[in-house]
Assembly symmetry: C2
Homo-oligomer: 348 residues x 2
C-alpha cells in the first residue's frame, strides 16, 4: 500500500502530484473566482481572499523567529501575494500534553506582535491537546481572510497599457513573455537559520531567518503598478516558484545566477550540506513578475521599504525557451529543475 | 513551570481559563463585529463570518463518521450557529510519515461528500508531513467563511416583537429570561461512539456518532423566526453549553432531566464508565434559545428535517435563578456544574 513520505509535504514535485491527483479529485469542483484548482497560495470566493497553512517547523524557536511569527507572516503573505489586503486571521493550536505554558505564551506574544506589524487582527481560534508522545510539541494553523486590495485594479491597469494581462489577481498563471523577474531580497536565509538551530546538524555562523510579513512592502510596489504575479518563495525555494510560474503560465524563464542574492555564509553552508540555495524555503521573500516598462520603478519602490531594501532584478520571462534556465556565472546555461521537495524538511 | 494538560483542550472550565488568561491577553484587541473576546464559535469581521477548528479525534475512523466528516461538519456548524450561511472551507493536513495513502483518500472522500451535503465548497488547502513518531496519524484543520444568512434579520425581527434582543447575531450572550431551550436531538451519541471504537475500552453496543452538518436544518428554523441563540454541543456537552450561555447572558437556565433525549444504551455506557452524558461532546446536535411565543413552531420546523426529527424542548431561561439547574426525574433540583473538561478526551 502506498504511504505518505516526507516529500509529500516538501513543496516540490511529489507534493504537487499528491495535490493534483488526490486533493483536486475530491475538492476541485470550484466555481470560485480563484479556485483550489489554480493551486495558487490563496483562493478567492465572492470577493473574499481565503488561505490556510499549518505550521510544523522544527525547532519551534530559531534565529530570527519562531513558529508563531512564521504562522502569522506566512498567512499574511499568502493573502498579500494574490493581491489581497489581509483583514483577519484565525489561530488554531494542537498542543502536546506537558508542553510548557511559558513557551506557549512566547508563541502567542510573537503571533500578536507579528500581527501588529502586519496590521491584521487574530479574531478566532481553537485549542486542542493530545497525549504526551502523540505530537512533538505544537502545531499551529493560521488561516486568513482578506479583501481585494484597493490598489490592485490601478496596478493591473498600468500593466495593461503595455500588454494583455489575462487574470484579475496576481496569479501564477499571469506571467508572460518579457516580464521582468524581481526577487525582494537574499534567498536561503530562513532554511539555513532553521537548520543551524537543529540538534545534530552542527554548523555554525550568523544565520538569521528572513521570516516577516510582506504586505506593507507589497502595497508600496502595487502603488507603482505593472505587477502581474507575486509569489512567496517558501517550500522548494525560488527553484520551485519559478518552475510553477513557468508551467502554469506556459512561458520560459531565464535567471542570471550572479544576480540572485545569496549571502556568502548561506552559500557556504549549502555547499557543505550539498543542497541548492535556490531550493531552500524562505519566509520573507517574494518574487514578482512585472511588465518591463515598470520594473525599475517597482524595484525602486521596494528599495524604499525595509523588507525590500535588497530587491533586485534576476531575470526575465521568455516565450522562446522552455522551463526555467539559469545562466551561470561563467556564462553557461543549466536547467533549474523543479525540486522533488525542499531539501530541508519541516522549515515551516 | 506550568504545563499544558489534557484538560486545557477539553472544552471545559480549564480551557476557558487558558483562553481568557492567555489567548485574550494577546489577541483580544478586537474591533470585530463579533470578536474573539466574545468567545463564540465564530467571529464576524466586516460582514464575513470566520471560524477555525483543528481535529485530533482518536480513532480517526469511528462508527458513523471519521475525522474528515467531523472537520467539515464542525466548521459548517460553527458558521451556521452564529447565523452565517457557510460559503467556503479550507482544509489543512498535517500527516505522519508512513500514513496510508488509501486512508488519506478515504478522509478526502468523506470531506468532499460532507461538504456536498452541506452545500459548501473546499477552496484552499495545505499539506505538511512530519517524521514518523512525531504525530499520531493525522491532524485536519478546517477553517470556514460565511456571509450573514439572509433569513437572520427576519428571524431577529420576529423575536423582537416579543422582547428586546441585544445582539444582531445568534450569540451566547443573547439568551434572556423566558427563552425556551430546545435541543435538536439525542445527546451523547458522538462521544460514546468514539469511545466504543477506541482500543482497550471494551464496551459493546450499537453506538453511532451524530456527526453531521446542521446548516440546512438551522435554515428551516430561521425561516420560522424568534431564535436568539444557537450553539453546537461539542466538547463538554450540553452541560458546558448551558453554563456558557448562563454566564455570558447573565441568566439562569432550568432544564428537565426527563425531557433531555439520551438513548438507553448511551445512558448505560455512561453509567458503566462513570461519566455524565450531559458532559459528553456531540457533533450533530445544537441547542437553541427561542422566544416562548415561537418555540413550538421552531420545534415543528425542526421535526420536518432529518437532522432535527428528535428535537424537543428541554427547559427555559429564568432570571430568578443562578447558573444551570437540572430538575431530576424524581423532582429534585441539582446544579449542572460547568465541567472541568469533556470526560472523553480527543473526541474531535
Amino acid at each position: 500500500m502506498s504511504k505518505i513520505t516526507m516529500a509529500h509535504g516538501a513543496g516540490g514535485s511529489v507534493m504537487q502530484r499528491l495535490i493534483k491527483e488526490k486533493m483536486l479529485k475530491y475538492f476541485g469542483n470550484g466555481e470560485a473566482e480563484v479556485s483550489l484548482a489554480a493551486l495558487d497560495d490563496a483562493a478567492v470566493v465572492e470577493g473574499i481572499v481565503f488561505t490556510t497553512d499549518s505550521h510544523t517547523v522544527k525547532p519551534i524557536f530559531f534565529p530570527g523567529g519562531d513558529i508563531g511569527r512564521l504562522s502569522v507572516a506566512g498567512t499574511v503573505n499568502d493573502l498579500a501575494c494574490v493581491g489581497g489586503r489581509p483583514l483577519a486571521l484565525s489561530a488554531a493550536f494542537v498542543i502536546e500534553e506537558g508542553f510548557d505554558e511559558a513557551k506557549l505564551e512566547m508563541i502567542l506574544q510573537s503571533m500578536a506582535s507579528t500581527a501588529d506589524e502586519a496590521g491584521v487582527r487574530i479574531v478566532t481560534g481553537d485549542t486542542k491537546v493530545v497525549e504526551k508522545g502523540s505530537l512533538s510539541e505544537i502545531v499551529v494553523n493560521t488561516s486568513g481572510i482578506g479583501r481585494r486590495h484597493e490598489l490592485l485594479d490601478a496596478n493591473l491597469e498600468i500593466a495593461r497599457r503595455f500588454r494583455d494581462v489575462k487574470k484579475n489577481w496576481l496569479l501564477d498563471s499571469n506571467v508572460a513573455d518579457g516580464d521582468v523577474i524581481i526577487v525582494s531580497g537574499y534567498v536561503g536565509d530562513h532554511g539555513t537559520a532553521v537548520l543551524s538551530a537543529r540538534e545534530g546538524i552542527g554548523f555554525e555562523g550568523n544565520f538569521v531567518s528572513d521570516v516577516m510579513p510582506l504586505n506593507k512592502m507589497l502595497e508600496k510596489a502595487l502603488g507603482v503598478g505593472g505587477i502581474c504575479a507575486v509569489k512567496d518563495a517558501t517550500r522548494g525555494g525560488i527553484a520551485n516558484l519559478l518552475n510553477e510560474w513557468s508551467e502554469k503560465s506556459s512561458v520560459g524563464i531565464v535567471v542570471e545566477e550572479e544576480k540572485i542574492p545569496v549571502r556568502e555564509e548561506v552559500r557556504a553552508a549549502c555547499s557543505m550540506l550539498g543542497i541548492d540555495p535556490y531550493e531552500i524555503g524562505n519566509e520573507g521573500r517574494v518574487v514578482l513578475a512585472v511588465v518591463p516598462e515598470m520594473a525599475q520603478q517597482v524595484v525602486e519602490a521596494l528599495h524604499e521599504t525595509k523588507e525590500g531594501k535588497d530587491a533586485t532584478i534576476i531575470g526575465q520571462a521568455r516565450k522562446d525557451i522552455d522551463g526555467v534556465v539559469l545562466r551561470t556565472k561563467v556564462g553557461g546555461l543549466r536547467v533549474l529543475q523543479p525540486p522533488v521537495g525542499d531539501p530541508v524538511p519541516r522549515i515551516c
